[in-house]
Amino acid sequence: MNSLMTVFSTVVGMSMTASYVALGVILIRLLLKRVPKIFSYLLWLAVFFRLVCPGSFTSVFSFLNVVKPAMLPDALPETLVMAGLENINYAINGTVDSSVGSTLPLDAVMGVSPLSMMMLTGSMVWITGVMVLLIWNIFSYFKIAGKIKTATLLDASLPHIYETDQISTPFVFGFRRPRIYLPAGISSRELPYVLAHETVHIKRRDYLIKPAAFLLLIIHWFNPLMWLCFALMVKDMEMSCDETVIRNKGQEIKADYSNSLLALAVQKNSFWQATPLAFGENNIKERIKNVIHYRKPRVWIGAAIIIVITALMIGFIANPINGTATGQKTYSGYAVDKLLANKTPYVGNASKVIALIDAMPLPEGVVRDKVELQTSAEPYGITINYRINNASAITAEDGIIGNVFDRNAILLFALVDNVQIINIRFADSTGQLEGYSWSKSRSRIEQVMQGDVRLYSDNIGKLKELIDRLSSVYVSYGYTDGNTVANNANKVKNCLEKIMTSPMASSNPYDYLNAHPAEVETIIAMDEKALPYLFSEFAKGGQTGLKGSLMEILCRKILGSEDIKYASTNHQDWYDSYKKHIQEITDKNSLVWVQDHYPKGVLILGGEQN
C-alpha cells in the first residue's frame, strides 16, 4: 500500500513535469510544420524522457527555469504522501509506520483523514486504470496474433513478408522478429510502396518505440495531454516514415506513393481494432499532403535544424537550477536560505519540519534520529530524537550542555507557525544521558525572548537578527512548569537515599518505606516525573538489592493501572519484563497509541524509541 502510493505520487509528479514539456513540444511542432517530420518525431524524446525519469540533471539552459520550481514537483508533496501512508497504515493495521519518521494527524472520528483517503482512492483508481488498459491491450495483442497465425508467405523467398485476408491494413507485428503483414490482394502497383514504408518502420525500430510509448501512456492514462501527445507522436512517426521512403526512392514516386496511400485508406472500424502494438496506417489526407510538400532539405539547413533541435532537447530534458541546491549559504552554522524556504504554518508538514531541523547545526558526535510530530490534538508538538555517539559531545563548550538545542528549538518556534511544544530526547551510547529528555513550550520561549519569535521569520535579515540574539540567550532545561529533568532526578535520588538509611537491620522494603513517609510521599506526589530517574537507575542493571526492591515498589505504585501482573521477587527482572511489555505493545500498535494509553509506562522507553 505504501509503495503503491509512493509510486503513484511519483507518477503524478512526472506527469505534471512532462505536461509542461509536452506543451512546449506541441508549440514547437507548430513552428516546424514545413520542416521534415523527423525533427518533430525526435522532439518527442524529451516528453518520453520526462515520463520515465523522475529526476534529471540541472542546467541554466532548462526551459523549466521559466516555470516556478514549486510548480514542478518530482512527486507530490511528501506530507501528502506521508499523511496518506501513515493514516492508511493506521486504518488498516492499527499501526503507524515509523519508518517515515513522523506521526501525522489521525482523524479522531474516522481514523483516516480525508487527505489520505484521497491519496488512497487516487492511487487505487490509477492502478485499476493501468490494469484495465494493460489487460485490454494484451488481450487485443493476442487477438491479432491469432488472426495472423495463418498468414501465408507472400513469396517463398521473402521470409518476413506475409499476407492474410484477416486484416484490412498493412502493419508490422512482432517484437523479436518483426514481420510485415499485408491484407490479401494488394495490387502489384501498391505493393512496392507498402513494402518500402513498412521496411522503414522495421529499420527504425518503430515497432518497439510505439508499444513502449503506449506503455508509458498506460501509466499516465489519467493525463489527457499524454493521449494527445501519443496521437501526435504516431502521426509524426508515420509522416517521417513516408518522407524516408520518398528520400530513398526519389521525388518522382510522390504521385504513385500518394495514390497507394489513398488506395489503402480503407474505412476501418479502427477504434476497437486498433492496437498500438501493431502498425495501422492513419490520417491519410494529412499524410498525402505531407508527401506532396516534402522536399529533401539542403545539407546545411538540415545541419542547422539538427543543432536547434539538440538545443531544444537539452532545454527540455534539463532541470532548472534550484537556488538552494547550489552554494548553500550558512550564517553562523545555520543554512538560512534553507530555513526560510522551509518555513511552514503547520507542524504536520513533515518534510519541511525535517528540512528545518536538518538545516541547523549539531554538536560534534550527535546525530539526529527519528522525528515525531504530534498533530492529532493540542498541544501540537515536535519530538526530536538524538543519538549521542561520543562523550565529548556532552561536555564540549558547544555541546549538549551548551545551549545549541535551545537555540534550535527557538528557531523552530520561529519558523513553524503552529508548534506549541518541542521535545528533545537522547539516546546515549556513552550512557551518561541515556533517556534524558526535555521540553520547551512556546510560552516559555516567549517569556525568555520577551516576545513572539515568529516575527523574525519574515526575511533573511530578520532571521539573522534572531540568530544573533540567540548566542546570548540561555533557556534552562526543563519541563514547561520550570522543573528540570536534572532537578527531578536529584529530588528522587535524595529521597531514595534517605529512605534507604533506616532501619538498617530490616530486609523488608516496607519497613524502610514506612520509616520515611515524607520522602515516599514526595516521590509519589511527583508521579510520572519521578519515573525517568527510577527507570534510568534500573536501566543500569543489577538492581536486585534493597534499592531495587524500593524502586520496584515506587515505580509500580506510580504506574498504577498501567502496571503488569508480575509475581516474583526479582526487581531487576520486573523492570526488564515491564520494558519488554511496553516495547511489544509499541511494536504492535504504535508509539502514539502507547503514549495515549500508557502515558507513564512509555517513559521506560527513554530516548531509545526506535
Binding site: 497465425k149 501465408t152 521470409p159 492474410t164 485476408d165
Partner: protein, 119 residues
C-alpha cells in the same frame, strides 16, 4: 455448400494438397513451412479444421482432398457474382473486361463457353 467457403490461407493450403495428394502429413507440414511460412502447429490446426469440415481427409497420416479444386472454384465464383453483381453474369463480365485486355485465344474460348451455356 457453405462449407466450401475457404479463406485465402486455407485455399493456399488445400492447393498444396491438390497438387501433392496423397501426401504424408509430415511432408505436408514441411511443404507448408517452405511455401506458406507456417509453423508445424499451425499446419496441424488448419488441417484438423478442414478435416472436420469434410474438405480434407487425414487417414493414418496420409492426407487427401474430399473436395475437388473445380468445385471450390465454382462455389467461389458463384458467391462472388452473387455478392458483388446481384447474381448477374453479364454485369460481372463487363466489370471484369473493363480492366483486362483479352488475348485472341481467351476471347475465342469465352465465346465458346457462352454459346454452350445458351443451349
Amino acid at each position: 455448400m457453405e462449407n466450401y467457403k475457404l479463406f485465402d490461407a486455407e485455399y493456399k493450403f488445400v492447393s498444396i494438397v491438390w497438387e501433392k495428394e496423397p501426401v504424408n502429413s509430415t511432408e505436408l507440414a514441411r511443404l507448408s513451412l517452405e511455401r506458406l511460412g507456417w509453423k508445424k502447429s499451425t499446419t496441424y490446426t488448419v488441417l484438423r479444421k478442414l478435416c472436420e469440415r469434410g474438405i480434407l481427409d487425414n487417414a493414418d497420416a496420409v492426407v487427401t482432398s474430399l473436395v475437388k479444386k473445380e468445385e471450390v472454384q465454382k462455389y467461389e465464383s458463384q458467391s462472388l457474382i452473387e455478392k458483388n453483381f446481384e447474381g448477374s453474369l453479364p454485369q460481372f463480365l463487363t466489370a471484369f473486361l473493363d480492366r483486362k485486355k483479352l488475348t485472341a485465344k481467351e476471347a475465342e474460348e469465352l465465346k465458346r463457353i457462352i454459346e454452350e451455356a445458351m443451349q
